[in-house]
Symmetry: none
């Protein structure tokens, strides 16, 4: 069973607005075993909307419109739908009475324009809207189902939950779905795909999606079976094959970010962490502390952003900075050691580099980053990286890489 | 001149992902005098994409696809476009060579699948992609223009800016637009709209949009005139009236974030800043250092995340913590003073609070935050706040408020 969502409203075609109703709808539809194959956003244009609905009905079993059910002249969904399904609109006086009472309860008089909201496509069922004035509509003919929903999320969401989901479950596919998410770091997307492509392409009943973010890749395996158990077995079997191929490059089976996985491991081991950051300016600490409960293992950090602060704040020997520079293997090592010693943490991580776009010295190019990881024995591994990209990208990659290196160190304890 | 944007990728049809490229594209298209009349999102389905492109070309002058230009089998845009415009794909060996060199520079070998990215629709112009492997394509025939852009925003945005905007300006409508952006902090959205609604609603040739983010409001004024100068005059006149009404609540006329405005002021005054953070865990330092050149005025910071770190790292007197607790007016004051004194900065900011969801003590509810701002004379103002929302929302509001308070202090010097 396939569906298409059409969001209506010229304000959704401005550079500022994004349609979020479709995310909620997609989740609900998927839960009912219905796929979303296309989403569209169309302005307040009767003809374009009529055409879009006609085209959508040709290829999908179910078409959902959101918005355009208000009382004003530019609310055109009712008219466009009537034209598309070639049925007239029927006026329902009891809807007007309901809207009138709603206004009265709030001490307002209903504006006469609200009568427009009482027109229903002939043959459609009315979907109650306890949160607003515009009722939804559920229309069915030989071509399929067409659902009209109001635009405001606080009206749409309860209407979907209470009026639509019970009906959608009856038409959804009896197939059951199970999704496994795996996360990987440290292997470029193209290499990863080359390695696992031959594996997942043989599993025809599992839809594999690869989502690449800087320094982090998500692998989504969505299996379809006759029962939920069968879907589970299919997804898990493929996940295991992929895990065997990628080995340590998989840091998690699940959707948690690497900072959360790091936290889980530290907590299980009863160990702690501190950080010292230069070019990433607090981004590493910020990601670690975004996880709730992180105060159980994260002691804190230093943002030693300037050369003098590395000495003043953190106690890196001035001679190290003078001799090797603040972006150097030696500086990264000293920063990690100082963070560990000053805080008493089990592990520490240091990051120093040039995030760009300008740089103070000619010693190394923009994108040069040194990352130090100290383990409980006080041994520090420093690695050298050369990231390319703009300032925020270099910072993000540096943090992502630092978390990956920290995680390997923790995992190997 | 009308346009349609089609975003390609099954991951954009999941409940987790939203297409944001179209927002950037809409802004650029509008600036070139081109309207967006429809946006669509389509999965990795060759036939559906081909149909969507054919239909879009029937009603719009310009069709833009984003995504689906990657190297893997599920990257189907090239094929679908070739089918839709009925032209073959031509292999360009110099594109493969460029991709190969790109990988070599990073110390990787190009995977053979990347050769797929070297196929160009016959007759299309190649749009350079300095940030990634997939070149864009600009195709034109009797039906109109079709542009193929890569999906990752960091590749798409510079390509649009450098390769597309100059060409788009030539085909856009002769009406001229000018946009003024103003940013405001410290006044709730409903109050702000009540105050400026009567002002902007009289300016019929200026489209006013109010975008509210947590603790920050953007006011966009988009004026349309026969010439760019006329549009400018209209927008600026309205901006001045709004500024007169809102006064100090406007922190910037321009799109810069408050951390950038803070930086500009500090640099102009030749003064410096340091921070000490508890519940925000590096988020404030991270935002300040996201601005390039921030090392000229930002010395660094402490993430004193645990109680003991406030004493150990930062030197807050243990007696203060014992007597008043680490989330208290006194702790915030001591943190700000210690950060200022230890760093030698002109200004310092401290944040301590409960971001939730759990909290260690019963002294104050989740969302309680104290913010301290120390000025060059060593005088510290501490304010008490009670934010509601989840962990990340409380952290974001705390940082936003701290920046606003810091900015007032700097402005009043």
């Amino acid at each position: 069973v396939t569906s298409e969502i059409i969001a209506v409203g010229s304000e959704l075609l401005t550079p500022q607005r994004v349609d979020t109703n479709s995310l909620f709808l997609t989740r609900k539809l998927n839960e009912c075993g219905i796929e979303v194959v296309r989403k569209s956003i169309i302005g307040d244009d009767r003809e374009k909307l009529t055409n879009a609905i006609c085209n959508a009905r040709k290829s999908s079993d179910l078409v959902i419109t959101t918005g355009g059910l208000g009382p004003t002249l530019d609310d055109i969904t009712r008219d466009a739908v009537a034209k598309a399904v070639d049925c007239e609109l029927v006026y329902h006086d009891q809807i007007t009475q309901g809207i009138r009472e709603r206004f009265l309860r709030r001490g307002h008089k209903m504006a006469e324009v609200n009568r427009r909201q009482a027109y229903i496509v002939k043959g459609a069922d009315i979907l109650e809207n306890p949160k607003g004035t515009a009722p939804g509509q559920w229309f069915k003919d030989a071509l399929g189902i067409l659902i009209l929903l109001p635009g405001p999320p606080r009206e749409l969401e309860p209407m979907v939950e209470h009026e639509c989901v019970p009906r959608l479950k009856k038409i959804g596919s009896p197939h059951k779905y199970h999704t496994v998410i795996m996360r990987s770091a440290g292997v470029p997307e193209s290499e990863l795909d080359e390695r696992i492509g031959p594996i997942y392409s043989t599993a025809s009943s599992v839809a594999t999606t690869i989502l690449a973010a800087p320094g982090d890749i998500q692998i989504h395996l969505r299996a379809c079976g006759d029962t939920i158990e069968q879907a589970q077995v299919l997804a898990e079997a493929l996940a295991e094959k992929i895990e065997n191929e990628l080995g340590d490059a998989i840091y998690n089976r699940g959707s948690e970010e690497i900072e959360e996985v790091v936290g889980t491991h530290l907590q299980r081991l009863g160990l702690t962490l501190a950080v010292a950051e230069s070019c990433t300016g607090g981004l590493l600490a910020q990601r670690l502390t975004a996880i709730q409960g992180s105060s159980k293992y994260f002691l804190g950090g230093w943002v030693s952003y300037t050369e003098s602060s590395k000495t003043n704040f953190l106690g890196v020997p001035e001679s190290t900075i003078v001799k090797y520079g603040s972006v150097s293997k030696e500086a990264a090592k000293a920063m990690a050691l100082q963070a560990k010693n000053k805080s008493g943490a089990s592990f520490s991580v240091s990051i120093t580099g040039f995030a760009g776009p300008a740089r103070d010295t000619d010693t190394a190019p923009v994108g040069t980053v040194y990352i130090g990881v100290a383990d409980p024995s006080g041994c520090v591994e420093v690695s050298h990286h050369c990231f390319s990209g703009d300032r925020s990208f270099v910072r993000m990659l540096a943090v992502q890489t630092a978390l990956r290196l920290l995680f390997s160190t923790i995992r190997n304890q």
